[in-house]
Amino acid sequence: MIWAFDLITLIFLVITAIISLQTKDLLSAAMIFGVYSFLMCLLWAGMAAVDVAFTESAVGAGVSAVFLIATVLRTTRRSSD
């Protein structure tokens, strides 16, 4: 794969991981975790692992973000760290 594309996606991946863990609002943390999953899916599609990318876009970005949002709305939205 193209190394520049790889590097840019990986840097965005690290940024979204840090932001989703640092933000105090849990709903935005869940949304940014969905973005992280989509970037991961893009990276795997570039690595010729289309089946894994497909699974990640359906499971990681779609369903697990919905599960996180459901839990956040059922418990509390505020986080201390």
Partner: protein
């Protein structure tokens, strides 16, 4: 706790980073993982042995059938576990007055309702395509099942949980999840009854109008349908339990 975490992370990270120099370089076709004859066998012999062009599906459903079967069982067990963690007795539910009950939205928003009504059949059709065409293109039971479950989740999000439960009530969800695993293991036991090993699909050509090679391909489709049943049911079950906090009445 923070300093302990930092020390652990720095130590582990340093150990792993110092091991990186021994890794094969990126995209090396001569690396041990790519040069090993098992994966080369999967690439060259999958189509001659099973007439399936998508190697990932073939390895998933045929060569490593045990693995996939018990992964499906893991998903099933996770769904049951979530149900039994969150479910409470009716008495407890009446006593629990700490949280205010949410009001139902009587008539759903027109734009959201129309859009979801148009999209849900298309999503379900696409999910069926993903399951059925998983041999020739990326896809398969897991992905198709999750997309089919996501269509019910979309229905529950756009209306309320009752609207989705009219199509998939909880009893039907559990039945579907069990039926999926029964279909998968049924293919395995059918092979055993006909005198071969568990999940060795070649023997099934005796009861299928197909050659031994085609029988493997058709059995893979059947197994993927079983996986899709379980995935659909459990994904919707996990969502409805998490979104209603276990009582299956209130929605988000």
């Amino acid at each position: 706790m923070k300093s302990f975490a930092l020390i652990t992370v720095i130590l582990t990270g340093w150990l792993l980073l110092s091991a990186v120099s021994d890794f094969p370089s990126w995209g090396d076709t001569e690396s041990p993982a790519n040069d090993y004859r098992l994966s080369q066998h999967y690439i060259t012999e999958t189509f001659p042995e099973s007439s399936v062009p998508n190697m990932v599906t073939a390895v998933l459903a045929d060569y490593r059938g045990y693995d996939t079967m018990f992964e499906t069982v893991v998903i099933f067990v996770a769904g049951i576990a979530i149900m039994s963690i969150l479910r409470r007795k009716p008495l407890d539910y009446l006593k629990d007055t700490g949280r205010e009950t949410r009001s139902y939205k009587k008539d759903p928003d027109l734009i959201i309702d129309t859009t979801c009504r148009l999209m849900i059949p298309i999503i379900q059709l696409f999910a069926l395509y993903v399951v059925a065409h998983g041999h020739h293109s990326p896809g398969g039971g897991f992905q198709g099942g999750v997309i089919f479950g996501a269509s019910f989740i979309l229905l529950a999000l756009s209306r309320d949980l009752q609207a989705a439960q009219r199509w998939v009530p909880e009893k039907r969800v559990l039945n579907l999840a069990g039926i999926g695993i029964l279909i998968y293991s049924g293919f395995g036991f059918a092979c055993m009854i006909l005198g071969s090993n568990f999940l060795d699909y070649e023997i099934l050509h005796k009861i299928m109008p197909a050659t031994p090679v085609e029988a493997r391909s058709h059995s893979m489709l059947g197994v993927e349908i079983g996986v899709a049943f379980t995935c659909t049911a459990i994904m919707f079950s996990i969502y409805s339990n998490l979104a209603s906090n276990g009582d299956m009445k209130e929605t988000l």
